[in-house]
Symmetry: C2
Subunit: 363 residues, 2 copies
């Protein structure tokens, strides 16, 4: 299939993850064989080392690094935890077993490894991402949440029991789940020329029923609220590997706006990763200006909504013209509207009128 950027294949990626993990362990062994205390240096993830990059249009880490050394008594605990996390990640990846952050926390006890709490264990998994340069989904630590996809894309599985099997993602008209099997599949064929991501399940079903996938030649992704990381990575792949533009439709409020933003520019928590963002994706609506232009039924903004908008105004990801304009518009009209508000003009208005107008406007 056509590639805008050279991306390594899923199989190559899995090998590369295992190579990286072996390299990580190998370095520690070498240090010990030379008679020196094993140590690791990695980019610092402290707040003062996180910067927004206007070029990459996402948060990145600066030049500061931190060192963990087995020599330092205060480092021994996180150092040992990190080494165990590397071992556990390698077991998961080799055996092709998926897990969750919660599983990692509890699994540690099977190895007499102790984490104070879930937060400590999560932080060590993020350290491992930083050391490895791979996201935790690559070493089989998956989000608990699930989202879905529907459309004319044929995938080829790489998971055990399904290797080489293909599935067209129109096979089930309610959509299929975006889980470990889907995200680790190769793309075999598609006739779609765009991706439309949708916040809500009801509208996702409406789009399928109204044949948006055919009429607009689109793959439909249900984010089910904030898109899980695995889904953000999958959208990134659809954009990079298949060169498909991405349009995001959310509720018209600061929370919907931020669902779009996190798909586009990611979060500060993932400043050490590059594959969870899709900077060229577009937030196509529902905008504050749409609430006015389409005379949508609306609700007043709450105190919490307004507070959130003021936070977004200071967020470097929101510096683009569209984002400034819409944030200000929300604050001036003091209203919000859900995607379903278009049903005010009949159930299919959103597909017949709004969708084509917005796809053109944000193309």
């Amino acid at each position: 299939m056509k590639n805008r950027e050279i991306e390594i294949s899923v199989k190559e990626r899995r090998k590369e993850v295992l190579r990286n993990l072996r390299r990580f362990g190998g370095r520690l062994y070498n240090q010990m064989e030379k008679g020196i205390f094993p140590r690791i240096r990695m980019p610092s993830r402290s707040t003062e080392n996180i910067f927004y990059s206007p070029e990459l249009r996402q948060y990145i880490l600066g030049d500061k690094t931190v060192r963990r050394s087995a020599r330092n008594i205060r480092h021994i605990r996180p150092f040992t935890q990190l080494v165990w996390a590397g071992y556990f990640a390698s077991e998961l990846t080799k055996n092709r077993k998926t897990s969750t952050l919660r599983d990692v926390y509890y699994s540690a006890q099977a190895y007499d490894m102790s984490f104070k709490d879930q937060a400590e264990s999560n932080s060590i998994v993020t350290d491992l991402e930083t050391v490895m340069g791979f996201s935790r989904e690559d070493f089989k630590v998956f989000p608990e949440e699930r989202s879905a996809i529907f459309g004319d894309l044929t995938i080829e599985y790489t998971v055990p029991g399904y290797e080489g099997k293909q599935l067209n993602l129109m096979s089930h008209p309610d959509g299929v789940m975006i889980g470990p099997a889907l995200t680790s599949s190769e793309f075999a064929q598609t006739r779609a020329d765009k991706v439309i991501a949708i916040e809500k399940g009801g509208l996702f079903t409406r789009f399928i029923e109204e044949r948006v996938h055919k009429k607009f030649n689109a793959l439909l992704v249900l984010t089910a609220g904030q898109a899980p990381r695995a889904t953000r990575h999958f959208i990134h792949r659809l954009n990079k590997e298949l060169d498909l533009p991405v349009f995001i439709f959310t509720d018209g409020d600061p929370w919907g706006m931020h669902i779009a933003m996190v798909i586009i520019s990611g979060s500060a928590n993932a400043a050490h990763l590059r594959e969870l963002t899709t900077p060229d994706a577009k937030w196509s609506g529902v905008w504050a200006t749409d609430i006015v232009d389409y005379k949508l039924p609306s609700d007043p903004l709450t105190e919490v909504d307004i507070k959130r908008l003021h936070e977004l105004e200071k967020d470097p990801r929101y510096e683009g013209e569209l984002w400034r304009r819409e944030t200000q518009k929300f604050l001036s009209i003091k209203k919000k509207a859900e995607q379903e508000a278009f049903s005010r003009y009949g159930l299919t208005y959103i597909v017949d009128e709004y969708l084509p107008a917005k796809l053109e406007e944000t193309d």
Copy 2:
């Protein structure tokens, strides 16, 4: 396929829904032709008319009825809203368009029908269920939430564009969504002999990876927290139409326990319906006694958890021996545990040891 009880087929059901709606409208026309003010009598859904039936093992409505008459000025508003809801439901069902409660609320505006707020519109939809004796999913008003299923069941679609097409639900190893197309499908073939419902996405994936569907001949249903109504109806169908016993696995806390209970005995809000419960389904774990017996890593119960347990103690659905014992046990050990806590004994312990033991214990 074998039928424990005679259930009408999906196609018959759709026809019956349309017949009921026509009958509803027809009665009103007849009354008007006779020169009398149209009126409707239906079972009262007020709290004092909701009873728990130990025979049916669910809430039911008592003998009290309410009358709405176009003659009564105070009735005119809800009466008109109900008639409109019947018209809208008939449009949805005839045109095979699905919607959500939110859509119904906004759609009313397209007909110059006004609802004060979402609560008023929801209540009218429930009135329509009560009048019709069918659940709102039958007239195409679906939940926003989505859950998933995986296993060796072949379904045959009845939705437009897919009529007569079959899909085996093992086609996609992340699971397929339980949406309007799945719930309106007919069951063509299965080799499964039980249903296992699971609260969480991570464990659902674990069960698929560890081939629980093969080893235990099971259909796996992800409830994704509290099971959406459409999923509860689907589980009911699997139980009634295919005669499959249902086992439910949740977190070991009052919230997990109640997820199981709502699948089994439903809620007071749906006392007017019979198809959203599966009274013979079993809550197989995680029990409070499992926390002790399996020495699971646990967290202390919070104030809110304890308050909830005291509420459940007074709930008539919780009068069975298992429920009383486990509620008391939670309160005495003052601990709760998640399903993932079994990872303490290795990732596959839950499938290798716990699952078979509990399936046997609750069979």
